[in-house]
Symmetry: C2
């Protein structure tokens, strides 16, 4: 009898304890859209701190690398937990680090960035729903293959077709070619960037012209070579890929207006550098150029000591008026906390001194996707009008 | 003088040693297509053994889980290596295991399977190029969003449109709806399955009719519920999603022939079970049903003790002739090394005894993607003729 009462009390205590454990996912906590569906962790607290939990009883050290490296604390059942500092809104790559090995966290979706399939976490931004899916007409993201004579291989690109593209069989559309950053690929703007949702919403609000958006893989190396970044050879390889393979391919397959006023070239970071080189050297092909968060201008080790735009784009300072005539939209943006901002603002000052028309926008944030989504949202509204 | 000679000898020895290290990636070794581009490891030897190397100086234990668990050996520089047994050809999910934590290997691409983003490795099969990209006309894979009244949320699906789809503006196409397995999603058939490449090649060879292939997310749960697998509730939820949301959506948006003779429903594993239930219960909607590697029939713990098809599909045994009249193609396949094969063959025997027309194919391999690619390749050639 006493034993039964004891068992009952123990059972009651166990159930209470279990409820207490479950209650550790507090009311108001949100599950990020980047979680694999069933996972409780990580979760986001109302003040945007993030709580991670990982089961790793045998590991010596477990950390989360999210904007900075956090040590996790191990409990008696082998679960490691940490609560981060409040996070900036937007999409952030992150890593789970087990005994100093950086890996993707099995709890989250992966995204191609940092040169590998990396974890990402989406921190909501209050009031920013321009990249949330809404009940408006939606376009498609199409993944297609083409043969590149530069890399001598089959390559894939993504292409956004706006709502109505299939139905309006005789209508031709303007096109934005948009490049990812270093360590990324053609999935960047399609997935992390939410290009289709940003454009669907802008088109529904009649703030952007219906357009196609071509999203290439900007990692272009000739067989046997390995030029990267801001080298002339890498820039040449990219230019050739875009002008001689990608553009002819999409123009043969899609209903596209082929004149320069209906073409735009933009990119982020390394892709911004590619747009600077290839766009501004080919204003007879592109009347619209956008450069988001480029390190080309300075502020990072790869930039070199001082940037002279006239060296890369002859005439851009000494004959700014000829560029003003050719470019309908020339747009530069950067994040306010991005180390590239000072060099970028300095260059804007130089351009304006020389009479070059350029639109400059800055957005809260560092070198990351929230700034690029906002840049696309801003830039797209200026195009083809 | 002696010191200089000594330095020269040491330098020579170092260079030789370095060459020896580099020579450890032997001639004839191949880099799998699933590697992130620049990575030397893993690589595949001519006899299909795979060599893995992971840098993890601080880890206590590092393993590779590829069809079985392999312990890796650590060297003095903190690199862990292992050479596996020869691998079966095809695509295999695998894991890197660090101190018993299963994660994705940063060296490889990730794929949604096993309920998370998991590593995969592609082992080539000599003579099997039906899923290799060729210089033939290519279709697109389109990723589109639709609103589900079953899950009360926006959902994505992939859809393959065959070459010529856009150009032939008045032509309508038959459609195959095809389901992934447990722990997978709508990317399964699109990425791991290479549906677009298999169909592009078959269409070019005139072995398959040009068709659309709709690739849904078969993980369908009503808000607040959690029925899964072969339960009636899970099957009902899937059926409703397919018949009341997905089919009306694609028929409103794409140029599709809507009669039953021009519809097929197929799936692998859990998706095969879904096709069995939803296809065979709705032969007024689907004239073609394909079931690849389903555990529904027996052979796995979830199957239950004995499978009675008449219980799920009344009349299938007692009135086989009515099914023969309705079904143009009824197709069942399984891998020869799949534990489900005995129960599957037993069911085929029962079906044939009762006069039910069914095509049975088996392929070398276990419960995996090479069998499903071959099943699709086989099944697609029978459809819509």
């Amino acid at each position: 009898m006493i034993m039964k009462k004891l068992q009952f009390i123990l059972l009651f205590l166990c159930l209470t304890f279990t409820s207490f454990i479950n209650a550790q996912i507090p009311a108001g906590a949100k599950s990020p859209s980047t979680n694999i569906r069933e996972n409780d962790y990580p979760f986001i607290l109302p003040d945007l701190r993030v709580v991670f939990k990982v089961n790793a009883p045998e590991a010596k050290k477990v950390q989360i690398d999210l904007m900075k490296l956090y040590d996790m604390q191990k409990d008696a059942s082998g679960n490691w937990t940490v609560t981060t500092e409040p996070q900036e809104p937007g999409f952030h790559y992150y890593s789970l680090v087990i005994d100093d090995v950086k890996v993707a966290d099995p709890a989250s979706k992966t995204f191609f960035g940092m040169g590998r399939m990396a974890s990402g976490i989406e921190i909501p931004e209050a009031g920013a729903d321009f990249y949330s899916i809404k009940n408006v007409p939606h376009g498609d993201i199409r993944n297609v293959s083409y043969f590149s004579k530069v890399t001598n291989s089959w390559r894939n690109l993504n292409i956004y077709t706006p709502p109505g593209y299939d139905e309006n069989s005789n209508k031709k559309y303007p096109v934005l070619y948009i490049q990812h950053g270093g360590g990324e690929d053609e999935s960047g703007w399609a997935v992390q960037g939410r290009t289709n949702i940003v454009l669907d919403n802008l088109i529904a609000e009649k703030k952007a012209e219906p357009m196609l958006v071509v999203i290439p893989n900007g990692n272009v190396t000739r067989p046997g070579e390995n030029f990267t970044g801001y080298s002339e050879q890498a820039m040449q390889a990219f230019k050739e890929e875009l002008l001689e393979n990608i553009i002819p391919f999409v123009e043969s397959k899609y209903k596209i207006k082929t004149d320069r006023e209906n073409k735009a070239l933009a990119g982020l970071s390394m892709g911004g550098g590619q747009s600077f080189y290839t766009g501004l050297r080919n204003t007879d092909i592109f009347a619209n150029v956008g450069i988001f968060s480029s390190g080309l201008f300075g502020g990072i080790p790869q930039s070199g000591s001082s940037f002279d735009p006239e060296k890369i784009i002859p005439g851009i300072l000494t004959d700014a008026e000829s560029f003003n005539k050719k470019l309908d939209v020339f747009y530069i943006s950067v994040g306010e906390q991005d180390q590239r901002i000072d060099a970028t603002k300095k260059l804007i000052g130089v351009f304006k001194d020389k009479g070059l028309k350029v639109h400059f926008s800055s957005f809260p944030g560092g070198h990351e996707w929230q700034v690029w989504r906002k840049s696309l949202h801003d830039f797209a509204q200026k195009l083809f009008k």
